[in-house]
């Protein structure tokens, strides 16, 4: 396990059920994980937040998105489609954490290049294993430095 990523990555949790949000946070506390977590209540809020981050240069943008599917106004897959269509945001790592066991949803999610698809019911509401997975993920996997922007540098050149 590489320790080069000492700076904990920012996580964006997109979840409308407040109990599930609490459960996620409890799991993080239990596992003594202290990544900064931003919470969006649905796809629209999440998109607004992500757009703001992108507009601001992207350095404070989250690197990991935990995405619920069934949400009001804009659901998870609709949000994901927008993310993948946006040049500034399409690189985001997305994990789906949902109640939906629908094959259609799974197919669509992987079609939109999710890093993983997890069911809430598999873990009760403790989310321990999901959080463990995410924790391992960002610790093991190498993330590019947010300040590294080849197109911007090229444009500036």
């Amino acid at each position: 396990m590489s320790d080069s990523n000492v700076v904990p990555v920012k996580i964006l949790l997109v979840e409308d059920d407040s109990i599930d949000v609490k459960a996620f946070q409890r799991a993080m506390t239990k596992l003594k994980i202290s990544n900064p977590v931003t919470i969006a209540r649905d796809g629209v809020e999440a998109w607004e937040y992500l757009s703001e981050c992108a507009d601001a240069g992207g350095e404070d943008a989250p690197s990991l998105v935990i995405l619920d599917i069934n949400m009001p106004r804009m659901n998870g897959l609709e949000l994901l489609t927008k993310i993948r269509a946006d040049k500034r945001l399409h690189h985001l790592i997305v994990f789906v954490l949902t109640t939906s066991n629908d094959e259609k949803d799974k197919f669509e999610a992987f079609n939109l290049h999710v890093a993983g698809y997890m069911l809430k019911s598999d873990m009760g509401n403790s989310f321990i294993r999901a959080v463990e997975l995410i924790d391992s993920y960002w610790r093991v996997v190498e993330f590019p430095d947010p300040s590294f922007r080849p197109e911007r540098d090229a444009a500036m050149a």
């Binding site: 409308d16 059920d17 407040s18 109990i19 609490k22 459960a23 409890r26 009001p72 009760g124 509401n125 403790s126």
Partner: protein, 524 residues
């Protein structure tokens, strides 16, 4: 005036052959009612020269002789007036006419006695005969209708519609149809109509007989039944929606409650003050119970509604498998007696019934380690009868009906942890399969025997069909639902929870809050 009568004529008047016959002598023989007619005829003859009259002549033996007289003036002057003519005794004819009229009127009476519309048309579609009922429809006396073309009575359009059927009958066929007609009072009457050819002795078809029976009552009843069926189908749909509410909308907040209780337990693990730990336990228990109740309620509403697949099963093996699946406690014996027939039936439904009954026997046994349950089957022709006998405490017969009702347990909930739904579900399934279920004392001494009949022919129930109002009997349909459109655009039934939930301390008001919306719990 003198009339010259030949001897035969004189005999009509009962006069001697040599008697003179002046006017007044003849008039004596004529009954008072007919005299004027007679005199008028003579006056007319004086004026026109022609005499024509029909009148009666008294008979000394009683009764009358009918005479028809025809004549003409042969000589007439100021003083004398001679008529020459013929008198014909038409008594016999008159009598026949009378009898004919009597017969006709008797026939009319007879036909009027038929509870229907009876008519006879000839080959030219003219009315020869119509029962008096038609008076109500055509607003004319039955006699006035004779000779009228049917078209003039029923109108061109209806005649065009009917003509093919008349023609069919005139061709020799018996034709059946149904028709309806608005009555003069505005109401609609329905008729079952039969047209039959009418033949003479040589077999030739002279006309068509039509009989229309009023089936308005029957039709109204049919419409009523149809309306009721639709109503019941709708009520069943409501029931399904109610089950949907129970499954999705009640489960979600319930799950949240269970989760939060877990968290409280974790966070308060070391807190020993007061009743906190005990209360947390009770809280957990009650929510688990609520969860099970919900599952059972769902199972109840689905029982007898799922068509499911029909499979061929060997009853012996089937029962044995179920007994094994239940995994009875150590020491409990479950014995199945051999010799049961094979069935092709809704196996999942039968399994539910057997599983419930066997579990009950186990659950209620005071000494499970030495308990004894015996299952046997009896072939009863159209159905099989299955018995489940245990040697437990038995059930007093006064609870015969109660045990099959929803949410009924015979022991306090805390002792048995049963929702009280098992037998209600079983009852519903058995009703669906048109069987019967009951219990008796175990003849072996201790315990109870549950017996039920199961139809060998699988009974299907399409989702919209009426289940004999069982839902109503069980109290579920007392829930009234109004479907509202929410912003989410999914139908969110707003249920008025029936009284059944007022058992076991569930306050109706609390549950109405839950029925309202899950938003209550999602509020931050």
């Amino acid at each position: 005036m003198q009339l010259v009568l030949d001897p035969i004529c004189k005999s009509f008047f009962e006069l001697d052959w040599d008697q003179e016959t002046p006017q007044d002598v003849l008039e004596q023989k004529i009954p008072a009612e007919d005299i004027q007619k007679y005199r008028n005829a003579i006056e007319v003859c004086k004026a026109t020269g022609k005499f024509a009259c029909e009148f009666r002549v008294k008979r000394s033996a009683g009764g009358y002789r009918h005479l028809s007289g025809r004549g003409h003036t042969i000589k007439q002057d100021a003083r004398q007036f001679f008529i020459k003519g013929v008198f014909i005794d038409v008594t016999a004819t008159k009598e026949l006419e009378g009898r004919l009229k009597a017969t006709q009127s008797r026939m009319q009476q007879l036909v009027d006695g038929i509870p229907g519309l009876f008519s006879y048309l000839d080959r030219d579609y003219r009315v020869w005969f119509m029962s008096s009922e038609y008076r109500n429809i055509f607003d004319r006396q039955a006699e006035e209708l004779v000779g009228v073309h049917i078209r003039d009575l029923i109108g061109e359009e209806m005649f065009k519609e009917r003509k093919p059927r008349y023609d069919q009958a005139l061709a020799g066929e018996e034709v059946h149809s149904e028709s309806n007609r608005s009555m003069p009072d505005g109401s609609m009457a329905y008729f079952s109509v039969t047209h039959k050819p009418f033949r003479d002795d040589s077999g030739e078809i002279l006309g068509v007989l039509t009989l229309g029976i009023d089936i308005t009552d029957r039709r109204i009843m049919e419409q009523h039944v149809e309306a009721k069926s639709e109503e019941l189908a709708r009520s069943n749909k409501d029931l399904e929606q109610f089950a949907y509410v129970a499954s999705h909308d009640l489960k979600a907040p319930l799950r949240a409650i269970e989760v939060i209780i877990e968290w409280l337990r974790e966070d308060l693990e070391d807190y020993q003050e007061g009743d906190v730990q005990e209360n947390l336990d009770l809280l957990g228990q009650r929510t688990r119970r609520l969860s099970r109740l919900l599952e059972d309620l769902l199972a109840y509403s689905r029982a007898g509604r799922k068509i499911g697949d029909v499979k061929h099963i060997h009853l012996d093996e089937f029962v044995k498998d179920i007994a094994t699946l239940i995994a009875p406690p150590e020491g409990m014996q479950i014995i199945t007696r051999e010799g049961a027939p094979c069935l092709t039936t809704h196996h999942a439904a039968l399994e539910t019934v057997l599983r419930n009954l066997i579990s009950n026997a186990i659950k209620h046994h005071p000494e499970p380690e030495s308990g004894h349950i015996e299952i046997s089957c009896e072939d009863q022709g159209d159905s099989v009868m299955i018995s489940i006998a245990d040697d437990g405490d038995g059930i007093p017969s006064k609870y015969a009906d109660k045990v099959f009702k929803m949410f009924q347990t015979l022991k306090p909930r805390d002792e048995t942890e049963g929702s009280g739904m098992g037998l209600a579900i079983v009852q519903r399934i058995i009703d669906w399969q048109k069987g019967r279920i009951w219990f008796e004392d175990n003849p072996a001494g201790k315990g109870v025997v549950f017996k039920f009949t199961w139809n060998k022919t699988p009974q299907d129930m399409p989702t919209d069909e009426v289940a004999e109002g069982r839902g109503k009997a069980a109290g579920i349909s007392e829930a009234t639902l109004q479907v509202e459109q929410s912003e989410k655009q999914d139908p969110r039934p707003q249920a008025t929870v029936p009284d059944i939930f007022s058992e076991d301390g569930f306050d109706q008001n609390d549950l109405q809050c839950i029925g309202h919306d899950t938003v209550v719990l999602e509020e931050d």
